[in-house]
Symmetry: C2
Subunit: 394 residues, 2 copies
Amino acid sequence: MTQTADKLEQIHIGKKGAAPIAAPGWTGKPADRVKLVDCDVHHNFHDPHQLLPYLPKFYQEHLLDQGLHLPGAGYANTPFRRTRPDIKDPALQERDFNFSLEFTQKELLDRWNIDFALLTGPPVFLAVAGLPDPDWAAALVTAFNDWTIEHWLDKDPRVVNAILVAPNDPALAVKEIHRLAHRKDTAAVMMPMQTPDLFGKRRYHPIWEACAEHDLPVVSHIGGGSPGSTLTPVGFPSYYMENRMTRPSVASAQAASLIVEGVFEKFPNFKVALIEVQQMWAVPLMWHMDTDWKAIGDQTPWLKRPPSEYFREHIRIGSQPMHEPPRTEQVYQMLEMLHADETLIFCTDFPHFDWNDPVTVLPKLDERMHRRIFAENALDMLRITDDMIEAVVA
Amino acid sequence: MTQTADKLEQIHIGKKGAAPIAAPGWTGKPADRVKLVDCDVHHNFHDPHQLLPYLPKFYQEHLLDQGLHLPGAGYANTPFRRTRPDIKDPALQERDFNFSLEFTQKELLDRWNIDFALLTGPPVFLAVAGLPDPDWAAALVTAFNDWTIEHWLDKDPRVVNAILVAPNDPALAVKEIHRLAHRKDTAAVMMPMQTPDLFGKRRYHPIWEACAEHDLPVVSHIGGGSPGSTLTPVGFPSYYMENRMTRPSVASAQAASLIVEGVFEKFPNFKVALIEVQQMWAVPLMWHMDTDWKAIGDQTPWLKRPPSEYFREHIRIGSQPMHEPPRTEQVYQMLEMLHADETLIFCTDFPHFDWNDPVTVLPKLDERMHRRIFAENALDMLRITDDMIEAVVA
């Protein structure tokens, strides 16, 4: 056990489930029942062939003959061999860690006292969003959802799902939502963020309508098909570091599109969370849209309120990767600008190299802000029922 | 005269050139000599045929037969009939204002005591960046530069030029820089910001090299060829308001590209200003690149320093459109985060509807910050010689 892990053992009073986290630095009193909801926990298969039992015969043969044939996902979301030394498994050659439930329980849920973990799948797999064959994309996400049910959801009540849908044929995404919406552990719908077209466009409205019908939010993680690196308005960047810097522009474009196209006027109970895209982009977006709305709002008369009000009511932002400015207080200034008590939801991005743990990420929050970010904002958004909470915190 | 204009007459002690601005709200003492440099003043022709005398015969015929045939520039940068009522000219039918030198002198330079005004051309014309014929693009920018010399630069020493180049064939852009670099009133090079490829890519390095050789910064204004609206990583947005929200992602991508590709290691005296793209995007970009550089900087070993240091030394940001947050102090928090004393240069964007005047835009700066933003940062960047200053402030 490394020194870090050793220290963490000591600072946890409880070892399981909802035991209070009393780590140094948590200045706020956590919420009474649900204290910690993690909205970005990556699960994964080791080999695509694990999906075979969940595919119809036709697509089993397709997988055996063609492989996943996902479009290039660009740079790996996390470098394969670059992770946290404290949980490194020396037996693994290709990657430093695996994504199994047991590993996730040991290294995340138990160690950090996570009450609920929202599964967000393998980022590389989100490239299904760019598959040219919409039926193959739909078959793959259905197989992945069924694999997730059997190997994750049925085994731990703390684990809830953002069911994966592919945007390629919206009608098939709607079908998948209707197929799994009845399940209690369906807490959200995962839509890859890098779609062929903007979220506000009318082709996607049937997906949002199905979500609204089942009171399910969309949780959208960065990722999707991309030839080599993420397109910017001025071309494809060369390097991984640049590629990471494009994430705010994806999130900002999707948020502006949803708001300006009037999606939240059309579906008043619909919420969208944008995950692993940094946070601060939302501040100038809210400020500038409100300013513009005063000057040119007559061009979009279906917007009844300042755009920032739609944002604060309907859009949520993942807390990871949290900024690390030279002066720590600037993070807290940013949280105020962001209305983080309404908009920010805690995410670890476990088990990626740039993950954030719940203790050190934002150590100086007051009690209310602490509760909002680490539990309540997520509970207000996700479809998590009282009896699911009972099962976990009892 | 409107009430606003009337008031402005009263608050100006001097009426010409470098007379001190003693408007209410200017809490800082302006710089001693050059007090006010405006880095974004749009000039324009009324009719493309005005360029005919400056084109070779071959391209005169081209213009007469084909028109400018600029690619769609997307939404107009400023709505044609939506401008400031205080300077509206009722004689003009198509637009509310014109772009002549006389108009600019009367309504901007004299009225607001601008010491130096950097000409930035007509935003729609920046669509030359997307012209398929690189020779036509080069002929057009040469004609425009020569028209500017005759009708603007030779008539007022306060007016300096960002000579326009087209990125379509970098060798031709280099040629244009060498052709005009000897002129005193050449203070910068204007490169449209929406280029076919990212600024850091090697195809553009000869342009940056020519700028560095002549100690000219690039001033890059939002604009360029775009089919309908500005591309985002996830498609083309539908509405003008969304389109305006894409600007930070263009600027952020160009800045990251210049830094990560090592352009500033290659050309250590080279500076780039990014104009009319908001400001706050630069804060998370600097923060996040520095964090990433610690983790994955080994992938770009040619970067010797934290990326934010390259930014603060080499990249400048236009002050317009300045954010208008709900709580005014948040603008000043942002200026701190931005290192605005190094990075921010004052821009009016005259005469567009969303322009900022120098008095009300940032009323609560301390003396040093005031000097840096309104004069010194620009003077440190632009090629403006002492005798040019003498001619203006004497």
